[in-house]
Symmetry: C2
Subunit: 138 residues, 2 copies
């Protein structure tokens, strides 16, 4: 197994420029090169890049992933840190869900109150303009 970057890309579903970007920021090690200077990859890189992609899909930030990858290099250590990274991330997502849910409720009320008339009497525009005064006071 001695894969070119395009083949690695196909197997991991990570785009070629993204792979190069990950190398540039040190998330992937600098790949060995062919005689002509093209990157060549082995099975470890496939695994590592798959890990990165899955973690990104789960919404982890690059720095968290860096940390998680460091941890997997020390498999006998306690998984306490991995656990706390994941818990922190979970709390962050829950906070974002709460924020977005509040927004959704507000927007959905606005949209339902719109009488489809003219701008000057539109509840949507009105609510945005008066937001701070009328209902919330934040």
């Amino acid at each position: 197994m001695n894969l070119a970057i395009g083949e690695l890309s196909r197997r991991t579903e990570v785009k070629v420029p993204t792979i190069r970007y990950y190398e540039q920021i040190g998330l992937l090690p600098a790949a060995p090169r062919s005689e002509g200077g093209q990157r060549r990859y082995g099975p470890d890189e496939v695994k590592r890049l798959n890990f990165i992609r899955h973690a990104r899909e789960l919404g982890f930030e690059i720095d968290d992933i860096r940390h998680l990858l460091d941890l997997t290099a020390r498999p006998q250590d306690s998984c306490h840190e991995a656990d706390s990274i994941a818990r922190r991330h979970l709390a962050d997502i829950e906070r974002r869900i709460a924020e977005l849910t509040a927004l959704r409720n507000e927007l959905s009320r606005m949209v339902s109150e719109c009488g489809h008339g003219r701008i000057c009497e539109c509840r949507i525009v009105e609510v945005i303009a008066d937001h701070g005064q009328c209902r919330h006071g934040h």
Copy 2:
């Protein structure tokens, strides 16, 4: 009323550099200047900037806000466009909530399955590494 930028900032709770940034991208008109070259603002700018802030709090993008502001300049027009901007935004937020909720469920299951042992047997690390194969197949 002839406000300096700091006073405008205080009244609208928009930071000074952000106000300058909004001017730079054309979201706020170029403010008239004092003799020494400092920006001075009147009541219209307070209103406009409040509108911008409220719209940002509701998660609208700058381009949408630009559009909404254009609409408020033509108050006799139909509010059809405002309505569709708001609906599109609402749909977008609902999609993001759905995505985040799916993430939350997955993360929360991962975290609850972690036995607080060693990395090599940690469900969190394992799930990230095997994500594609084990349960989803996407």
